[in-house]
C-alpha cells in the first residue's frame, strides 16, 4: 500500500509538503521594482544593496533618499497593509503610518537585516498596533475580548458565488485573517507570529486552522 506522502506525490499537485524556507517576508528580495524603475526578477542583491545605501543616506536626514526607498518598496508595504486590513482606506492610513514610523526609527536599522526585511516587520507591527488600539477603543464600549468581534461576520454569499482567494482572505474575520496572512502568505513562523501578536501558540494554530477551513468553504461555493 502506498504511504500517504507517496500517494500525494503520485497524485501530484506539485506542491512541496514543507515550506521552502524562503525568506518571503523580505521586501525586495524577490520580484520587485528596482530603484531605477525597472522590474527586478528573482533575488535582487542589487535592490537590497541600493536600499541599504539609500537607507544609510536617509538616516542622515536625506529625504530624497527616503523618497527613493519609498518608490522601491511602496507596493510591498501596500500589499501587506491591504491584506491585513482588508480595507483600502485603512490600508492607506496604515501604510502612511508605517512609512512615518520607518523614518522616525531609521536610526534603529543597523544593516544587520536587509532594509526590506526590517521595513516589512515594522509595517506588520504598525498594522497590529492599530488593531490593538481599535480593540481598546471598542472594548471601552462593548467589553469585547475577542478581536474578531470588531469584524463583520463572514458574509454568507450566495450559492455559486465563486470568489478568488484574495477576496476570500479579505472576508475572513480579522483574527483568522491576520494569522493566515502572516503565516501562509508572508511566511512567518508560528513563534514569530506569536511574538508579534501576543497570541498563545495554541490560539494561533486554531486561528490558522479556522482561516483555512473558512477559505476552503468560501472557495468551494
Amino acid at each position: 500500500m502506498l504511504g500517504w506522502q507517496d500517494r500525494f506525490q503520485k497524485g501530484g499537485c506539485g506542491v512541496p509538503f514543507k515550506r521552502s524556507g524562503l525568506d518571503r517576508h523580505r521586501i525586495g528580495n524577490e520580484d520587485g521594482v528596482s530603484l531605477t524603475g525597472s522590474i527586478v526578477r528573482g533575488p535582487s542583491s542589487t535592490l537590497a544593496d541600493e536600499s541599504a545605501e539609500l537607507a544609510r543616506r536617509a538616516q542622515t536626514g536625506d529625504v530624497a533618499a527616503f523618497e527613493r526607498l519609498y518608490h522601491a518598496h511602496a507596493s510591498h508595504v501596500r500589499a501587506i497593509c491591504m491584506r491585513l486590513c482588508a480595507d483600502a482606506q485603512r490600508a492607506e492610513e496604515s501604510a502612511q503610518d508605517a512609512w512615518v514610523r520607518a523614518w522616525e526609527r531609521l536610526a534603529t536599522w543597523r544593516g544587520e537585516a536587509a532594509f526590506g526585511t526590517w521595513l516589512h516587520r515594522l509595517t506588520v507591527n504598525v498594522v497590529l498596533e492599530s488593531f490593538r488600539a481599535e480593540r481598546r477603543r471598542f472594548a471601552r464600549v462593548t467589553l469585547a475580548e475577542d478581536d474578531d468581534d470588531v469584524d463583520a461576520p463572514v458574509p454568507a454569499g450566495e450559492a455559486g458565488d465563486a470568489i478568488d482567494l484574495e477576496r476570500a482572505i479579505a472576508r475572513l474575520p480579522r483574527g483568522a485573517r491576520t494569522v493566515f496572512v502572516l503565516h501562509d502568505v508572508e511566511g512567518y513562523r508560528h513563534a514569530e507570529i506569536a511574538a508579534m501578536t501576543g497570541l498563545a501558540e495554541g490560539t494561533l494554530r486554531a486561528q490558522l486552522c479556522r482561516a483555512r477551513r473558512l477559505l476552503m468553504e468560501m472557495l468551494d461555493r
Binding site: 500500500m1 502506498l2 504511504g3 500517504w4 506522502q5 500517494r7 500525494f8 497524485g11 499537485c13 506542491v15 509538503f17 514543507k18 515550506r19 518571503r24 521586501i27 524577490e30 520580484d31 536617509a58 538616516q59 536626514g61 529625504v63 527616503f66 523618497e67 519609498y70 518608490h71 511602496a74 507596493s75 510591498h76 508595504v77 501596500r78 500589499a79 491591504m82 491584506r83 483600502a88 482606506q89 485603512r90 492607506e92 501604510a95 502612511q96 512615518v100 523614518w103 522616525e104 526609527r105 536610526a107 534603529t108 482567494l165 484574495e166 493566515f180 503565516h183 501562509d184 502568505v185 508560528h190 494554530r205 486554531a206 490558522l208 486552522c209 483555512r212 477551513r213 477559505l215 476552503m216
Partner: protein, 218 residues
Amino acid sequence: MINHPDDQTLSDLLDDGLDPAERAGAEEHLAACDACFTRLQRLRMLVANASSLPRVMPAPAGEWQRIRARLHAAGSPAGRAPWWTQRTALLAAGLALVVASSGVTALLVGGRRDAAVQQTASTPAPAALTPRLAALEHEYATVTRDLERQLAEHKHMLAPETVAAVERSLQTIETAIAEAREALARDPGSETLARLLVAGHDQKVELLRHATRLVTQS
C-alpha cells in the same frame, strides 16, 4: 468505527506541528482514506496558492506627498538614538498620552513643571524650531481641513450623541493645542512643549480620521 483526523490535525500536519505519535497515526489514516487525503490535498493547494499571491500592489496616487508632509512633523532621523533610550522622547510619549487632558496641559503652561520636565525644557532646541513648527502647523491644518470637510459633509449619518462626543473631544484637543501654542510663545526653546503641540495635532488627526472612517463606512 473510523476516526478521521479533524481539520486541526490536518492543518497541524501540514505545518509539521504534530508530535511523532500523532503524525504516525494521521499518516496511517491518510494512506487508507481517500476523503481525508483529498481534504489534505486541497488544504495544501490553498496554502501553496496563498504563498504564491503577488507581493506587490500599486500604492495610491499621491501617497508619497502625504507621507512627506508628515515626515516634516517627525523631524530628521539624523543622529536619533532609539526612542527608548531618549529621556526626552519618553517624557514626550508620556505627555502625549495625557495631551487630551487640558488640566494637565494647564499645569505645564502655568509654570508648575516638575523637575524632569524642567530638565528637558532646558535642552538646547534646534535653531530653526519655530519656523519649522509654523510650517508644520500649516501642514497639519491642511490635513485636518480635508478631514473636517469630509466629516461635515457626512456627519448627518452619525447619531447626534456620536457627533456631540466627537465635538467635545475635538474641543478638548483644540484647547490643549492652543495652550501648548501659548506656552511655546512664552518658552520657544522648549522641545517638550513643541512635542506636546505636535502630539496634540496628532491626536486631532487621529480622532478626525476615526470619525471620518465611521461615517464613510456607515
